[in-house]
Symmetry: C2
């Protein structure tokens, strides 16, 4: 079952029991590999934000780098990476967030954004929203105005979109898989 | 010291003693964060290949995803990821390559390219060329015609560009740091 853009939804491959039994993994590599679907996804990701004067896109490692790089190019903006701990070479800001079991950490460079800069957060998928919330906190700590968060896929049953909206960031997703 | 595009070279930050003492790390996050430099880098990366009818860009994890996503968007092509072992959800082809100490592995999906498809390989930097060579082998194994390999940075003393040229793939790099 899916809601949203049917052409994009049909370009997403579903892999049962990955990475664990019982999980339906939504694989966007088939969408990215289809030139028309990739272009359409980028067009639709930026659509609500074209008047927002976004000067930087923040992409979340690793699939958010692919889409975020393309979205930044489409918007003629800069790009800044949100990376897992220990991957960025200069001074960083770090945020810890909870996983289903344990916790994880993401980082941005301290100079990733300029104070007051309008930033669009991009990733391939929003599930619980833990990583996205941590990214928003980091970007705000660096002085960014996070004008929105854009995802190809939303798993609405996991509540991530509401969680990000609740901290004041408009969420835009192209395809939803209820019941994931 | 650097050779090549001066505007792009000056947008690259050099971090001494990272990740180990004695290494000068070339950090492209400052280039990516500068909207004009990012756009110029993408324009220059694709420039030799605009007539080559590239239908897919292969980007190498992780920084090659950012540039590769933007290059694919610029060329209106598809994108396929070259990932570290164990990150891709469907059936893969795998290639082992030597590191300074030990070895590493990269993968692509078995359906990453169509037979005969013209593919451009993209990464941020070429050093020894080990990862790029493994990526070329994988793409060819899947049936791709690898029409070129494009990098923002070349460290010419490490010989990677010659290594890739020697297996029949034209190499294009925007900035060289001799003596790295």
């Amino acid at each position: 079952m899916q809601l949203g853009n049917i052409m994009l939804a049909s370009a997403i491959r579903t892999i049962p029991d990955y990475p664990r039994p019982g999980i339906l993994f939504r694989d966007i590599t088939t969408l990215l590999g289809d030139a028309r679907a990739f272009r359409k996804a980028v067009d639709e990701l930026v659509q609500p934000f074209v008047g927002a004067k976004i000067s930087k896109v923040a992409g979340i490692e690793a699939r958010g780098f692919i889409l975020g790089g393309a979205v930044a190019h489409q918007l003629s903006s800069g790009f800044t990476p949100v990376r897992k701990r220990g991957k960025l070479p200069a001074a960083t800001l770090r945020q810890t967030y909870a996983l289903e079991y344990g916790e994880d950490e993401v980082e941005i460079h301290t100079d990733a954004v300029s104070p007051g800069e309008s930033v669009l957060l991009v990733d391939d998928l929003i599930a619980t929203g833990g990583t996205a919330e941590a990214a928003v906190k980091l970007l705000r700590q660096a002085g960014a105005n996070v004008v929105g968060a854009a995802f190809v896929i939303n798993l609405p049953d996991l509540g991530g979109a509401q969680r990000i909206a609740a901290i004041g960031v408009p969420v835009h997703a192209l395809v939803a898989f209820p019941g994931h």
